[in-house]
C-alpha cells in the first residue's frame, strides 16, 4: 500500500515535469536567443537604448498574439486581428480629429479610445456570431471578416493614412510611466488580466474545456456558443488595444498597416506552445515566445538583415518549432510509456 502511494507521487511529479518541459524548452530557447544576439552584435544588443526600443516594439504584436491565442485555445483561430486593430486605430484617430476643436484635447482622446474599444468589441462580436450561430469555420469567417474590416478602413480613409491627431495622443505609445515605456505597461496589464482570467476564473475553465472537446463541454453544461462569442469579443477588444498602441506610437492610423503581423502572431502563438487544435497552452508561453522573437528581430535589425530574410526566418521558425514540438511530445510520451511499463514490471 505504501509502495503504491509512493509510485503515485512519482507519476504525479513526472507529469508536472513533462508539463513544464515545454515551458522550460521555451525558456531555454529564449535565453539562447538573447545570448546569441548579444555575442553576434558584440554587446550593442544589451545597451539601454536597444532595450527600451525593444520594449516599445514588441507589446503590439504581443497583445495581438494573445488575441489570436485565446481563439486558438478554443480550437479556432482569428485571422482578422490586424484588420480590427487598424480599423479601431482609424476610427480612434478620426474621432479625435473631429471632436478636438469642440470639446478639447483630453476629452476627445478619451472618447476616441472608447470608440476604438467599442469598435473592437463590435468586430469581435460579429466574428463570434459568424462562427457560433452561422456555423462558418473560424478560419474562413475571420479571413472573410478581415477583408471586410480592412475594406471598411480603406473606404473610410480613401486608402490614405489619417494624420492630425494632437501630440497628447502619443501618451500611450511613446510616453513613459515610472520610467517604463507605455506599451510595455499596457502589455503587462493585459498579461496579468488574461493569466488570471484563464487560470483562475470560471470563463478560463470553460474555454479550455470547450477547446478540448466541445461535445464533452456541452454535456457538462457549458454553452459553447456563449464561450465562442465571449472569446471573440475579448479577442476583438485586445486587437483594438493593440490598434490604439500602434496609432498612438505613430500618431496616425492606416487601414492597411502591418499585413505581416498575422503571420508573426501565429508564429508567436505556436512557438509559445498554444495547441492549434485547442485546449492547451498558457499566456506565459506566449510571453516567452514574443520575447524570443523580439530578440531575434532586433538583433537582425542591428546586423542590417534584409526584411525578406526575416520573413524567411519567421517561416522557418514556425515550421521548425512545430517539428521540434512533435519530437518533444514523442520523447515525453515515450518516457511516460517506459515509466508505466517499469511500474507494471515492479508490481508483477
Amino acid at each position: 500500500m505504501a509502495n503504491n502511494t509512493e509510485q503515485k507521487k512519482r507519476v504525479n511529479f513526472l507529469k508536472g515535469f513533462t508539463e513544464d518541459a515545454s515551458l522550460m524548452r521555451l525558456f531555454f530557447i529564449m535565453v539562447v536567443a538573447f545570448i546569441l544576439m548579444t555575442i553576434i552584435t558584440k554587446g550593442k544588443f544589451v545597451t539601454g537604448a536597444n532595450i527600451s526600443s525593444m520594449a516599445t516594439q514588441f507589446p503590439e504584436i504581443g497583445i495581438l498574439a494573445i488575441a489570436v491565442s485565446i481563439t486558438m485555445l478554443l480550437g479556432g483561430i482569428n485571422l482578422s486581428v490586424v484588420g480590427i486593430a487598424n480599423l479601431s486605430g482609424v476610427f480612434c484617430c478620426l474621432t479625435i480629429i473631429k471632436l478636438e476643436p469642440s470639446i478639447g484635447t483630453w476629452p476627445a482622446i478619451f472618447i476616441g479610445l472608447m470608440v476604438a474599444l467599442v469598435c473592437g468589441l463590435v468586430c469581435g462580436f460579429l466574428n463570434g456570431l459568424l462562427i457560433a450561430y452561422i456555423g462558418i469555420p473560424a478560419m474562413l469567417a475571420t479571413l472573410g471578416s478581415q477583408e471586410i474590416f480592412m475594406g471598411l478602413g480603406i473606404g473610410v480613409t480613401e486608402g490614405a493614412a489619417v494624420f492630425g491627431t494632437p501630440d497628447a495622443f502619443t501618451f500611450v505609445g511613446a510616453g513613459k510611466f515610472l520610467g517604463i515605456p507605455g506599451p510595455l505597461v499596457v502589455f503587462m496589464i493585459v498579461v496579468v488580466i488574461f493569466t488570471i482570467l484563464l487560470q483562475k476564473k470560471k470563463y478560463g475553465m470553460e474555454l479550455y474545456l470547450s477547446g478540448t472537446s466541445p461535445k464533452a463541454a456541452r454535456f457538462s453544461g457549458i454553452k459553447n456558443q456563449k464561450v465562442i462569442i465571449m472569446t471573440h469579443v475579448l479577442s476583438g477588444v485586445l486587437s483594438s488595444v493593440a490598434g490604439i498602441i500602434i496609432a498612438s506610437r505613430a500618431n496616425s492610423a492606416k487601414a492597411s498597416y502591418g499585413s505581416s503581423y498575422v503571420l508573426q502572431c501565429l508564429i508567436v502563438a505556436i512557438l509559445g506552445g498554444i495547441n492549434p487544435n485547442g485546449g492547451f497552452g498558457k499566456v506565459s508561453g506566449v510571453v516567452m515566445a514574443i520575447l524570443t522573437l523580439q530578440f531575434l528581430s532586433s538583433g537582425f535589425n542591428m546586423l542590417r538583415v534584409d526584411s525578406y530574410f526575416k520573413t524567411f526566418i519567421w517561416g522557418a521558425l514556425l515550421v521548425g518549432a512545430m517539428i521540434l514540438n512533435y519530437y518533444g511530445d514523442r520523447i515525453s510520451e515515450n518516457r511516460k510509456r517506459r515509466n508505466a511499463e517499469k511500474a507494471i514490471e515492479k508490481e508483477s
Binding site: 483561430i77 459568424l130 452561422i134 456555423g135 462558418i136 469555420p137 478560419m139 474562413l140 469567417a141 479571413l143 472573410g144 471578416s145 478581415q146 477583408e147 471586410i148 480592412m150 475594406g151 471598411l152 480603406i154 473606404g155 480613401e158 486608402g159 499585413s259 503571420l263 501565429l266 508564429i267 505556436i270 492549434p276 487544435n277 534584409d306 525578406y308 530574410f309 526575416k310 520573413t311 524567411f312 526566418i313 519567421w314 517561416g315 522557418a316 521558425l317 514556425l318 515550421v319 512545430m322 517539428i323 512533435y326
Partner: protein, 336 residues
C-alpha cells in the same frame, strides 16, 4: 426538382444569375461578348489554382502557400530563361515552372504527413519560408523581358472579339485551365484516388481502416496543388508579359472563397468541379464588374468581402441546419 433545390450549386447559380442581371441592367456593357471574353481571361489564373486547391479542401486540408509557390516558380523560371538568353520552345519554361511547383508542393505534403501537423499552419509557415528565401536569394527586381517563346505565347490570341469600340482577347493559357478542370474532374469522379480523397476528408480514421493509403494520398494532394500553382504562376507571367515577384501574393483568400462558395465543405469530404466552376464565375464577375456599376476602387474590397462572406454564410448555415438534425435524434434516443 426537389433534388435540385437541395444542391448547393443551385443557390450559387441563382446568385450568379441575379448578380449578372443586376449588373447588366445597370450597365449594358456587361452583356457584350467582349466583356465576357475579358472576364474569361481574368479568371484563368485564379481558376487553375482554385481547382487544385479544391482537392486539398475536399481531403480535409488547406493550402495557403500556393501563391508563394506560384511566385517562386514563375520568378525563378523567368530569371533563368533571361540569364540563359533562352530561345527554344515554350514548353521548356512551362515544364520547369511546373517542376518547381511540384517539388515545393511535395515538400509541403511531406512536412504535413511526416509530422502530423495542421496543414493550415504548416503552409502558412512554408509560404513565408519559400517567399522570403526566394527574394533573399534571387532579389526582387522584376523581369521585364521574358524569353521570346514565352512572350509569343502570351501575345498569341486564341479568341479575339470586337464589340463596339472595345476589343477583347483571350490567350491560349485558357486551355491550361480547361486541362486542369478535366484532370480534377476525372480524378474525383473516375479514379480510386478520387474516392480516397473524399474518404479522407469525410473521416480520416475510417479511410485508413478501409485500406486507403492516407499518407500517400495526402502527399499527392499537396504535390498536385504545388504543380498547379507552378503552372498558374508561369501562366500569369506569360499573360502579363513580365514577371513581378510581388504579384499574386495575397490571392489565397480569393481562391479559398471560390472553392467554398462553390459548395465544397471546408471540413472536407464534399465538393464538385461544377460547384467550384460556378464559384469561380461568381468571384470573377464580382471582382471585375463592380467598377461597371459605379462602385469605386476604394470600396471594392469591402463589397467583395461582403459578397464572399454572404455566400459562405449561406452554405455554412445550411450545413449547420443539416448537422443539427442528427444530434436531435441522438438526444431523443438517449432520453428513452
Amino acid at each position: 426538382m426537389k433534388k435540385l433545390l437541395k444542391r448547393n450549386e443551385f443557390y450559387v447559380a441563382v446568385t450568379l444569375v441575379v448578380m449578372c442581371l443586376i449588373i447588366g441592367l445597370m450597365n449594358p456593357v456587361f452583356f457584350t461578348l467582349a466583356n465576357v471574353v475579358s472576364l474569361m481571361k481574368n479568371g484563368i489564373i485564379m481558376g487553375i489554382m482554385s481547382f487544385a486547391l479544391m482537392l486539398g479542401i475536399i481531403a480535409g486540408g488547406i493550402d495557403v502557400s500556393f501563391p508563394a509557390i506560384a511566385v517562386c516558380a514563375m520568378y525563378l523560371t523567368s530569371k533563368l530563361m533571361e540569364s540563359l538568353e533562352y530561345s527554344g520552345p515554350v514548353i521548356v519554361p512551362i515544364l520547369m515552372a511546373v517542376a518547381i511547383g511540384t517539388v515545393l508542393g511535395l515538400l509541403n505534403g511531406i512536412i504535413i504527413t511526416k509530422f502530423e501537423l495542421p496543414a493550415f499552419i504548416v503552409t502558412l509557415g512554408t509560404s513565408s519560408l519559400f517567399y522570403g528565401l526566394l527574394i533573399t536569394l534571387a532579389g526582387s527586381k522584376p523581369v521585364n523581358r521574358l524569353c521570346p517563346s514565352m512572350e509569343a505565347f502570351g501575345k498569341a490570341q486564341m479568341i479575339r472579339v470586337t464589340s463596339g469600340s472595345t476589343t477583347a482577347t483571350c490567350t491560349y493559357t485558357f486551355l491550361f485551365l480547361v486541362a486542369i478542370l478535366v484532370i480534377v474532374h476525372i480524378i474525383l469522379k473516375y479514379t480510386m484516388l478520387g474516392r480516397g480523397i473524399y474518404a479522407i476528408g469525410g473521416d480520416r480514421v475510417s479511410a485508413e481502416r478501409a485500406g486507403f493509403n492516407v499518407k500517400g494520398i495526402t502527399i499527392f494532394v499537396y504535390t498536385f496543388i504545388g504543380m498547379a500553382a507552378g503552372l498558374g504562376g508561369i501562366c500569369h507571367a506569360m499573360q502579363a508579359r513580365m514577371c513581378i515577384p510581388t504579384d499574386l501574393m495575397g490571392s489565397e483568400m480569393m481562391c479559398i472563397a471560390v472553392v467554398v462558395l462553390g459548395g465544397t465543405s471546408i471540413s472536407g469530404g464534399k465538393g464538385t468541379v461544377v460547384g467550384t466552376l460556378l464559384g469561380l464565375m461568381l468571384i470573377t464577375v464580382a471582382q471585375n464588374s463592380l467598377i461597371l456599376i459605379g462602385i469605386t476602387s476604394i470600396w471594392q474590397q469591402l463589397v467583395s468581402g461582403l459578397i464572399i462572406l454572404a455566400g459562405v454564410s449561406l452554405s455554412a448555415y445550411k450545413e449547420l441546419k443539416n448537422s443539427r438534425k442528427i444530434p436531435k435524434i441522438l438526444d431523443d434516443e438517449m432520453e428513452v
